[in-house]
Every structure is written in structure tokens, then in C-alpha cells.
Symmetry: C4
Subunit: 327 residues, 4 copies
Amino acid sequence: MGLQFRNPLTKNVDNTGFSNISSAEGGRLVQKDGSSNLRKTGVPFWERFSLYHILIDMPSWKFLATIFSFYAVINVIFAIVYVIIGVENLQGIQVEHANVLSGFSEAFFFSAQTLTTVGYGHIAPVSVSANIVAALESFVGILSFAMVTGLLYGRFSHPRAYMKFSEKALVTPHKGYNSIMIRIATYKNNHLTDVEAQATLAMHINENGKDITKYYRLNLEISKIASLALSWTIVHLINEDSPLYDLSYEDFKNADIELIYFIKGFDEQFSNIVQQRTSYTVEEVEYGAKFTPAFHRSEDGTTTILEIDKIGAYERVDIFQHKTEKV
Amino acid sequence: MGLQFRNPLTKNVDNTGFSNISSAEGGRLVQKDGSSNLRKTGVPFWERFSLYHILIDMPSWKFLATIFSFYAVINVIFAIVYVIIGVENLQGIQVEHANVLSGFSEAFFFSAQTLTTVGYGHIAPVSVSANIVAALESFVGILSFAMVTGLLYGRFSHPRAYMKFSEKALVTPHKGYNSIMIRIATYKNNHLTDVEAQATLAMHINENGKDITKYYRLNLEISKIASLALSWTIVHLINEDSPLYDLSYEDFKNADIELIYFIKGFDEQFSNIVQQRTSYTVEEVEYGAKFTPAFHRSEDGTTTILEIDKIGAYERVDIFQHKTEKV
Amino acid sequence: MGLQFRNPLTKNVDNTGFSNISSAEGGRLVQKDGSSNLRKTGVPFWERFSLYHILIDMPSWKFLATIFSFYAVINVIFAIVYVIIGVENLQGIQVEHANVLSGFSEAFFFSAQTLTTVGYGHIAPVSVSANIVAALESFVGILSFAMVTGLLYGRFSHPRAYMKFSEKALVTPHKGYNSIMIRIATYKNNHLTDVEAQATLAMHINENGKDITKYYRLNLEISKIASLALSWTIVHLINEDSPLYDLSYEDFKNADIELIYFIKGFDEQFSNIVQQRTSYTVEEVEYGAKFTPAFHRSEDGTTTILEIDKIGAYERVDIFQHKTEKV
Amino acid sequence: MGLQFRNPLTKNVDNTGFSNISSAEGGRLVQKDGSSNLRKTGVPFWERFSLYHILIDMPSWKFLATIFSFYAVINVIFAIVYVIIGVENLQGIQVEHANVLSGFSEAFFFSAQTLTTVGYGHIAPVSVSANIVAALESFVGILSFAMVTGLLYGRFSHPRAYMKFSEKALVTPHKGYNSIMIRIATYKNNHLTDVEAQATLAMHINENGKDITKYYRLNLEISKIASLALSWTIVHLINEDSPLYDLSYEDFKNADIELIYFIKGFDEQFSNIVQQRTSYTVEEVEYGAKFTPAFHRSEDGTTTILEIDKIGAYERVDIFQHKTEKV
């Protein structure tokens, strides 16, 4: 699929941090959610991940389910220990006819009362062994609680970009040239300042018979805005300076290109820099389309309304065929 | 209201992040408190806000009321569950003559003892069903407590600018020109360093018959100071380089302008960058006034006193009428 | 005290954020600990301070004493409430002969058990009123605990520079000129990178008969170092470019000058920027002295030893009298 | 060991923050883990360290052991206090025949129940003295718990680079010159952006008969990459601009050099800048070797696999002997 690249003006960049050996890469470089398409080996499983970050990045319902499972499992483990020690060491327990199941359930509830430090006391440890296990369990409870507190605060306070990208990148006529446009907006009550955008083109090119991946910085009409409150259409003009300039419609469609966008800004709510990355493969580029407006004046005229669900809305337009004209 | 703009030197900026389609905008662009005058639609209600940020930004009394209501509601819910299960499953409860209300109130108090993990134990769950609910409730208690801890720390540590702006922007004679001045100060025991100010003028202009909004950067006499301990008067000279230069008093008053100020600095206490934004509409500009001093030497001569409530204090002055002279 | 300033080369700076009206200032501008010598009025007492920052900046023993007092006071208040309600509403209380003091002390201990959520239960609330107060108190306990957790974490994690400055600024001969030197080091196991220093001279000058304060940036021989592990001697050469160049020994001693130093760097442990400021008045400048070495090779030759207590150590030297030579 | 330095083009830098007095330094400047080889004296032991940072930087098992020991020790101390007061002040305690050991063990368990605020209540303080101690202990428990919460969150959220360096620096032929290469990668699911590398050469040189340490910035082929997802080979070409250019193989091996690398980037997960430093002494430089590939396409072709354990893998190559050619 290696494409012979013709425009002599274009200069590729070698500091993207991506590899330029096509044969060593698999699939798209950047996933739709912005993460790298990469697997790491050669480190033990537990060192390969930051458990904390997995727990603070997972959806809320998954996080709650994980915490609840943890609570249940710890209680089961300690209930088993109390049963092994003998539930008769727990004063006040009501075991009918030495029923093991009933003993386990009472031990489980005592465990829950100890782990959460609620400690009603109608069941209480009396032997040394039961006391040691209970002292240990309440210590585990304290530690687990401290961990949950940290995880919850981590989830709350972890800076996130809350940014929505248009599903497609559009090829739109603009200022006498074709251009590549994407549109973004923040979808929460957040506000970014000093927002920068960077667009990189990854292209599989045949150079001297070898398939290599080259990277090109795409110039943006405006690459930095003071504040992102409304939507922002990020525009790359396919003019004489663009590496895409002399590509025909067919070239464009056949090229195994990937457009990588990186947005960075200061979030006022988090008081921190937030970042978001995404990429568009050829299938995610719409040839001959333009974005339709996403905001309008409110009916009472006192405010502006931004429709987040229309951030990717577009309509068909004719584009320039200047490739044909030139050839 | 579209104003024909005459000074050919002035160049508008297009990277403010605001829209330039007057017909799509409603009301002022930036609220007095610095937030954007904007409503977002097209996202589900819960995704439109960051609940965490709402809770850490609300006033203390509102926050405490919210937390307390939450505490009461959770207890009511669990009390109802205990009543449904049957309060006879709670050992030690004192229900006189199967009184439902009395049963509910006892269940409510047992719930509070479980939720806060105080667990006196004079009331204690004895059946499997009551035990399961109690184990669940103490788990909910632990989680809620963890959340409150995170929210409180979030409230404490969230960087805030603690900055006071003068209520009015003044038009004051200065260095042979008129100028626009606002004055700011930090009102807490905080200290900002490397403080930058940016002033932007939004102006509704009639260009080629269309009403559009144009934005102009206003040059500031001093736009960055090393440290903001005292007050700072931010000065824009209405000289030949200013987009406001050739506007008459009437133009000025009739123009639907908006002055947007943005301040940014490093707060030493929060060890973080803090930002504050505000805007002045025409009604909030005082034509022919100057700020009166806001600080003076203390009586014992050992310190300087800054009067925060005088940050917006001004007196009348005559301004230059050079527009008239020129025409 | 106004000094007539002679060197025409020196240019003062007006973006220090300090005032230039001598008559409005009292005492030194910057305190020895780096805070501004400033009092703010015109805001209500509680808005004038950030309680959180006061609590996280106070010494550990003071903080512990504050927290403990808070614990005692809350318990006393609730004990009084229980006594008012009637201690007979607390089941299990041992009041001998309706002794009020004994009743208070039992109520106090019950309060402590409720506030800390330890809730042994040998004393327990039985009436509706006592139950309401207890439910409230355990809620207060949870909230207070959450606050203490936040405050402690705030104290732990608050970025601090841990920087020690030499007690005196020295006037030392260096490279054919006199120079002003101070020396700094970090005294904990911390490590700063990209450390910048800024020196500003504040000088009370008589200009056109008015006493004003002027500020001068003092050029530093090295103003940025890659890493601050050892000590750093910050050097300002009093050469032709220095505002201090043409001042005689007597001028220097008589001038009501203040040398303000500001250090800023990235702390690797806190992963944050830390800052420290200090100032030297004329009394804190040592005329004719140089720093003695503060580090040496360890006896076993495997490491370097930095003596923090010698950071301000100096010995006498003769300085250039080039003022005299010139006149 | 002082080496006579010949290349007149090379200019040393004096803002590294390291000392240039060889005789005052001991051992390597930077440890393999990036910390300075430095000991500080002259400050009291407790001021010399930040206990918080020691606790959040230690390995997990050590931290857990420390916390657990703390829990055990506090309980032992309070158990002793209860025994001294007299265990008969603890209602419900089961002491057989005034057995001291049994009394201590019961007091220990009561202490654990109080410290963790589990407070079953089958043992409860009845006298004023026991009540005071118990109220104090539950307060200590609350504080300790708050501290553990803060420490755990500190451990979780403390930004770390999670970066692996090749064990050796290689001298590899590259673009017609020899070069010094090291290779790095992040080994967790983290992603760095705007990553910068800095290489500094420390060299013990004999200048005018004195042994001094000089520092040279080593130019890097690429010193900043947009994103570090894969591995990054950091290359210094030993060309005419390099301070190492005219050194022979023997010079190189005999010189007491140290290569100090400093990497800095923005970590997306921590939303913070992370840094890592390391150094290579002569023994850690491999003369005539090149890195073997560390990543390849996955078998199913959909992703790229990075082998972290091969980050330092190299094979032998011949290097240029241009020193010989030149001489």
C-alpha cells in the first residue's frame, strides 16, 4: 500500500515518538479514545499496570461493583476464619443445633460489623484467637476504608478533558482550497483556556523500496485559542505547504493515512492542564462535507445555546478538484 | 446597533474562542462572575455537569445543608426498609403496643447508629434479613463518609483566585490620552506571583451589511507584574493604537461593547495557577473618573494597610475630548 | 532619608507589584519569612483569611493542640446538652445520688464515644431526644473526622521549598568588582530542578523633591541552575550596570535599601513548583565578608557532605574601595 | 586521574548546580536511581527528612509493615496504661485469678477495639480514669486513621515517571561518527507527552595543576519528542562539537567521566510533570555495541508489542577508530 510521495516541499518530522518502521507496527497507531495501540511485555503483570489509575478511570458502576465485591470477599474470608476457629468463641452468637451454615452466616455478619467498625457488640470475640482475628480485621477495615477514600477522591479530582470530537474529519472547501476540518467542544460545565491543537499525519510510504511510516505536522489555520467555551473547528488548509496537496481523490482514499489530533488546555475547574488525543483513519474522513452550525441564540435572547449532539453534524458540499486541474 | 469602524490601524483577533456571528449570540458574552453566558444541550442531564465541581464550588452553608439532607434521607430510606422487614428483627428495640411511628423512629435511630458506624449495640440486628440490610448500610456509611472526606478536601484545596475587581471600569485621563482603567486586589492572606492580565474588546460591528462580532486585544501599559500583594490598576491607553481611539463619547456610549478581562497568576498558598475572568458592559463603564488611593501607611508606621472595600472607589475628573479636537 | 541617585545608566522597573509611593508604605516591604508586610482591611474578618491555609501552615504541635481543643470543646458542648435533656435518657449511666458533676462526666464520656463513633453501647440513648442528639453528634463526628483527614493530607502534601538562606547578604570582592552574595541550600532530602533566582533592589529616592520608592532588577551572574542539590551562591556584581555601582560605603550604609530575593524551582518530591522569598535590609548586609565552604568530601571518600548550619558562615575580607578611587 | 582536555571548541557549563571542586566531592555525583550522592549535616535529624515523603516512597510491603507495627505498638502502650490503671476499671473483662498476662491481653484487645473505633462494648470503661484514657485513645485512633488515609492517597497519587533506562550506555557508530546512546521506555500503562531529555557530562580535569570537575552539555540528535509511547533511543553524536570528540579509546576508558541523563515529561495519568534522572559511569558504558529492536508487530497484526525487558538489549558492532585516523 506504500504510496510514492511527490510534493518535494513537505518535510517529515521525526520527533513524534512513534516508530517509522512500518513492518513493526500493527493496526492504527492511536485508538479512537486517544490511547496508543500498544501492548507491553517483559514486565511482571502487576508492574505493567497502575492499579490506582485503572480504578480511578473505570466507569462509576464498575468501580462500585469492584468495591462491593471486595467488601463481600473480605467478609467471606474472615467468616471462614471465624468458623475454623469455632463460632463458640463469638459471645452472643445464635447457632441452632450446631448448624454450620447458620454459624457461617452469623460469623459473616460479625465480620461485617468488625470490618466497618460498626461493632454493635451483641456478638463479641471472647477467646484470644477470636480477639486476634477481630483486631486484625478491624485494622484491615481501617486500611480498606482509607484506600476507598483515596480512590474516591482520586476519581473526583482526576483532571479530565470532558471533550467531544466530531465523529468524522471532513474535507471541506475553504478559502480557495480544500481543507481538513474537525470540530470539538467541551460537554460539561467546564471551561478551558490557552487551548492548543496539534495535528499530525501518519502515512505509509514506499521509499527506496522499503515500507516506512512517515509523520508530517499539519499546519492549522488557528492552532491556539484563548478560551474554549463554544465549539472550535480545527482547520488544516490543503494548500501548497500541505503534505496532502498533490494527492488526488484516489490517492487520498487509497493511502493508509491516519490523522492524529492532540488538544491541550488549562481547565479552570481542575486548575490543571488537561489533554485529549484522537485519530481519524481514512474510513473516518468524509470527503466533500461541511459542518452545520452547532450553536444559536436562545429564544429569549439572553444567552447562547450550544448543541453538543450536533458537534459532528455536517452536510454535503462540492469540493475543489484542483488535483485534476493541475495534472 | 452595528457600528461602522473607522480606525484602519486596528486589527481584530480571531483566536478568542468566542463566536463572531452576532445573530447566534444572546446577551453578554462573559458574566460578571467570569463564567460564559452559555447553555449546553444535547447531552443527558447528568453528563452536562460535574457533580463534584458543583459540590466543591457551592457556598459552605449550602454544602453542609446538602450533606445533612443526604444523611437524613439515607436514614429515612433504611428506616423504612427496617420497618418493612419488621422491627422485631432488631433486638432491644422498645416498641410500645406495636406503634408504627414509634417503630419507625427507633428504626431511624438504629439506622443512624449503623450508617455512622457508631453501633452502640443496645439495638442490634438478629435475623438474617436485618443483618444483611445492616451490613449493607454500614457499607453505604463507609462509602458516604469516604465521599464526604473527598468533597471536603476538594473544597479546601481547590485553587481559587480570591480576587476582587473594581465594580466599574473607568475612563480616566492618563499620559495625555484617555485610558480605560480597572483595579484589582486579592482580599485574603494570599499572594500571587507572575500575574498576567489580558483585556479583550468585543464589539458588534456592521461589516458589508452584516452584523458581526469582532474582538480586539487591548494593549495594557503593564500586562505582567512580578507579584500581586497590593492593588493593581490595569491601564489601557486609548492612543493611536487603540481600537477605541477614534470613537466619540456618543459612539462609545452607543456601542454594544464588552470589555473582557482575564487575570492569571501563580498562587503561593495553593502552589497552583489561579485564574479569574470578568467583563464590563457599557453600563459598567464610568466615563470621566479616576480611582482614589486604596492603601496607606499604618499609624505606627511599621506596615502598609490595604483597604479592600475601596478597591472600586473613584472620584470625578475631566477627560480629554480629543475626538472633538480631531474632527 | 531620600538619596539622590546618580548613575544615569540604571533603569528602574515598574512591574514589581510593590507601590512607589514612599509615604504610603510602612516598615520593610518583605518580611524575613518572605511574606508581604501588609494588612488588609475592609473585608469581614472571616473573609480576610483562608482558615484552611492557616491550619496547614501552623507548626505541628499547634495544629495538634488546636484539633485536640476542638475535640474537647465539642464534647463539653454535647455533654451539656445531654445534661440539659437529662442523663436519665442515657441507658446504663451510673449517676450516684443525682450528682450533677458525675452526670456531666458520664455524659462527656458518652459524648466522646459517640463523636469518635467508638460507641461501646454500655451507655446508650433511649429517649427520642437523646437519640436525636446522638444521631446529630455522630454526624458531626463523621464530618469533623473528614475535615481532620483533609487537613492532615493538606499539611502533608502542601508543597514547601524547605530552603535555607544565609542570615546575611555579603558584600564580597569578586572578578575585580565588589558583589552582593547570598547563599541558599535545601535542608531536607528534597531536590529542586530548574531553579531560578531574582533579585530586586528597593530604594527610597528623592526625585524632584518627592520621596518615592524605586525598584531595580539586580543582574545575577547565574540566575538559573539546572538542579539545586548542593548550596548555591547567588551573586550580583556591582559593576557599571548595577544601580549600586556609584554608591560609596556611606551612601550604602545610609540608604534605606531593601534587597528582595525570590527563588523558584520544581520540587521533585512534591512534583510541583515551590517558591521562597526573603529580603535583606541594610542591617542584614555584611560589608566586606565572604562565605566559607559549606561542603566537603566524606571521610570514606564515597559521598559529599553538605553542612546546612554553615550556609551563612563567612569570614572577613577586604573589599574594593573603587568609589574612592573614582572620585 | 585528571585528564588534559584538548578540544578548544568545547565550552563547559557552570549552571548545573553541581560543584566544580573535585577535592570536595566523593564518589559518583548521581546515583543509579537518580538521587544525588550527598549527605546533609547541621540540621536536627527530624528536620533533615520529610517523613511523609519517606513513607510514600517506600515499597508497599514496607509501608504496610510500618503501619501494622505502629498499630501494634500503640495498642501495647495503651494496654500497659489500662493495666497500670487497673483492668477492674474495664467492665466485662474476664480476668482469671488476677492473672497479669491475661489482664494485659484483655486490655490489649479492648485497646484495639477502641483505637479502631469498633467498640463492641462487651468490654467498656467504667471509672473516670479508664474513660479518660479510652476517650484519648479513640481520638488517637481517629487521627491515626486520618494520617493513614492521607499517606495512602499520597502513595497513590504521587506522580512517578515509571521509566526504565537501559542498564548500559552504548558507544555505537551512527551517521559517520561514533555516538553515545541510551534507550528508555515507560513500563506501565502510562503515556508521557512533550518529553525532553538532557545529557550532561561530568569530567575530572587537570587545569593549571588543579583537579577540578567540569560539566559539558551533550547535544542530542533529538532532545524533545511529542509523545513517549514506544521506546526512545537518546543519541549524542561524538562529532566535532562534542567534548568527547578528540578522546581516544584509552582516554575514554581512563577518564573518570560520568554521563548524567535527565528526562522530563507530562504524564497524562497523573496530569503532572514527571522527571527521572540517572547516570552512567565509565564502567556502565559499553564500547562498540548497538541496541537490538525492542518492539514488533503482534501476530494478529492489530497492535504493536513493546518488550520492556529488552530495553537494554544490545549486540556487538565495530566502531569508528577515527581518533587513530586523525592522529
